[in-house]
């Protein structure tokens, strides 16, 4: 069985990178405003459907990817301003309930517009096919996903650590009140931050649609592993989300090889073990949630 391990590790890394990018979006939103965004998966699905609609009207994959991600982020901003921002001053339970309700509404709207079953969404021809290296088959689309996710993560880190706005965002996570007192418009920061989280979700959503069936529940199916990634990695840590994602991805892939029946439950076991040893998660800062 050991000779099959190499392909599983590659699979695990791709899957993990995927969970990580979703988890980073969740984590960004959670850190700054305490909003546990249960509608995150719906934004992923929305982006997938928008890309599908553009492509079925003749657009190419790359334009569809960019346009749908931006449109989804704009819709995200509207939702944030109209519905979520009024709840920032309340305990997280309110926004949790709101986003949960939103995810149900989104799902039904998807059913009404695009129908209950999956729609035919495929990756562009230049990304189909696979390369074989020894015993390892590497689908081009998966390699592309991995590269795309690395690029997105690097861009995000540069933004957060090398720009003024990024600096303010990090400052707001530490002490939003002080930042406001110093004359920074924190509402604008909240908005940017939410938009950024949704943009990441949207990119992940379009990429996922090429890999999975694009149906009304696609994003929500990916949301649970992403939440577990956040918990394992530790709330408030981007590095944690990346490491957590890779751990979850690798655990799932390797378990599939040796004990397929446990492949879905392994991430919960991993979470339980991490929480027992380190209750704040691997990279979590203490007391982020009170």
């Amino acid at each position: 069985m050991i000779e099959h391990l190499a392909p599983e590790i590659v699979n695990g890394i791709v899957l993990g990178a995927f969970y990580a990018i979703i988890a980073i979006g969740l984590s960004l939103i959670m850190n700054l405003t305490g909003t546990i965004n249960l509608a995150h998966g719906s934004f992923m699905t929305l982006a997938g459907y928008l890309a599908f609609t553009l492509m079925s009207r003749g657009s190419n994959f790359w334009f569809a990817l960019a346009a749908s991600a931006i449109c989804t982020a704009i819709i995200g901003l509207v939702v944030e301003r109209l519905l979520i921002s009024p709840l920032y001053k309340r305990v997280p339970l309110y926004s949790l309930l709101l986003t949960f309700g939103l995810s149900l509404v989104f799902e039904e709207v998807f059913r009404l517009i695009w129908g209950p079953s999956t729609v035919p969404f495929s990756a562009p021809p230049e990304l189909s096919g696979a390369t074989q290296i020894g015993d390892v088959f590497l689908p081009t689309y998966r390699l592309f996903i991995m590269v795309a996710l690395v690029v997105v993560m690097v861009a995000l880190l540069v933004f957060l650590y090398r720009t003024r706005l990024g600096l303010r965002l990090r400052g707001a996570v530490q002490d939003a009140e002080m930042l406001a007192a110093l004359g920074t418009n924190t509402q604008l920061l909240y908005m940017t931050n939410f938009g950024l989280g949704i943009l990441l979700a949207a990119i992940a959503g379009v990429l996922a649609a090429g890999l999975l069936g694009l149906g009304p529940t696609m994003g929500n199916d990916l949301l649970m592993p992403a939440f577990i990634t956040v918990v394992i990695g530790g709330m408030g840590s981007l590095a944690g989300s990346i490491v957590g994602g890779l751990l979850v991805g690798l655990a799932i892939s390797i378990t599939t090889l040796y004990l397929p029946a446990a492949s879905e439950v392994i991430m919960y076991v991993l979470m339980a073990v991490v929480l027992l040893i380190r209750p704040r998660g691997l990279f979590g800062e203490e007391g982020i949630f009170g």
Binding site: D221, L222, P260
Partner: protein, 395 residues
């Protein structure tokens, strides 16, 4: 004292339909309903049943066995139905079948395939139109060995339905002298199949038999395509639902599958005029060709009406006896009958290939039927079924 009889209030024959209108089976359920509706409309236009009009009362069981039980009870108690038809999800079929036995209402399972409905948990009130999982695995097993090779790899969903399909193939593999080079059970709802698929690539079988359904099947095929597996290894499976394949991208419309019916194949419909008329009327009405699901609904409603006519009554025992063993001409070549030993409809099953683009200027036409197996060859022998299924008609 005035005692209203079932369905007598408005002098109607009332047939209840329980379908998965919401949830993952919404599309097959819709097509079953369309078939039923068309049959009922045609029956009513021709004067009804026992000179009474037929009314179809449709309920959404929400793809949930608990809801299916509630809806069946509601149809029986409130709508005073004379018979119940429907269901796509096997768990719903069995649950509904059990409720109908308690209430002594004839039930015809249109589209739930699990063996138990006409096997261990069969009832004198219950019948089934679609094929059993046993029939699906045996029909496709013969055709796969015949057309694709005898070195197999199994990939099945890890729940009751997947296990019963696997049992079916394991039975047929011995009869055919097949070598199995690998077997994996993937949890239901698996999103990433690449780990399984790389194992398959390394095992190099002639055929990968995929038993996943719905979303799992779509994920699996899309990923098999991106891994380049589809170019190296033939894929096949017990049941190809055209509703699924229509929603797949072209490059994932691949493989050899068991077909329960198809609208454009001489092997299926032959020169059957009833089938040709049905296909034309249905396509004109719904702007989409009928699927196997539409046929389940249509044939079920039609045969139930015929049984009530033959029984000259809506009495459950009389209707069940009239339906049982009666040979009829379906919407395919050759005849069919609900077998008296277990009430399973015995009819042929087909096998064929899925193609990316519609053929002959018809975008819907993506199946190519290449083989067919007679129903009595692929279902468990009647003598074996007697030991498993006890119908126990009331004296």
């Amino acid at each position: 004292m005035f005692l209203p009889k079932r369905g007598a209030a408005a002098d109607l024959i009332v047939i209840g339909a329980s379908e998965e209108i919401t949830g993952v089976y919404a599309e097959p359920a819709r097509n079953e309903i369309r078939g039923m509706q068309l049959a009922v409309d045609q029956i009513n236009k021709a004067g009804g049943v026992l000179s009474r009009q037929v009314k179809l009362v449709i309920e959404d069981n929400a793809n949930n066995p608990g809801t299916a039980v509630e809806k069946a009870r509601k149809l029986i108690q409130v709508d005073k139905i004379n018979a119940l038809i429907g269901t796509v999800n096997s768990a719903n079929s069995q649950a509904t079948s059990n409720v109908c036995l308690e209430a002594t209402i004839p039930f015809v399972d249109t589209g739930g395939h699990t063996d138990s409905v006409t096997g261990q948990q069969c009832h004198w009130t219950s019948f089934r139109t679609c094929h059993s999982t046993w029939m699906e695995t045996h029909a496709t097993g013969y055709s796969i060995a015949n057309k694709l090779g005898k070195k197999w790899y199994y990939l099945a969903p890890d729940y009751a339905f997947g296990h019963s399909l696997l049992d079916g193939y394991k039975d047929i593999e011995k009869k055919l002298g097949v070598t199995v080079v690998g077997e994996d059970l993937a949890p239901l709802g698996t999103t990433d199949f690449s780990a399984y698929l790389t194992k398959v690539l390394n095992a190099k079988p002639d055929v990968l038999i995929i038993m996943q359904q719905g979303q799992d099947l779509i994920n699996c095929l899309k990923q098999a395509n991106s891994l380049g597996l589809l170019k190296r290894i033939a894929v096949a499976g017990p049941q190809g639902e055209i509703e699924n394949f229509w929603s797949l991208p072209k490059e994932a419309r691949v493989g050899y599958w068991g077909f329960e019916w198809y609208y454009k194949s001489a092997l299926v419909t032959g020169k059957n005029k009833a089938a040709a008329d049905f296909i034309k009327t249905y396509t004109d009405l719904y702007k989409q060709p009928p699927t196997a699901r539409s046929v389940f609904g249509y044939v079920t409603a039609q045969q139930l009406a015929a049984a009530i006519t033959k029984a000259k009554s809506t009495d459950a025992v009389k209707v069940s006896q009239a339906l049982s063993g009666e040979h009829f001409q379906g919407l395919w070549q050759g005849d069919a009958y609900y077998r008296d030993v277990d009430h399973q409809l015995i009819w042929p099953m087909w096998f064929g290939q899925v193609r990316g683009d519609g053929a002959g200027g018809d975008e819907w036409n993506i199946f190519e039927v290449v083989d067919s197996q007679p129903g009595d060859k692929v279902e468990k022998p009647a003598d074996d079924q007697k030991a498993v299924c006890k119908l126990n008609y009331p004296a």
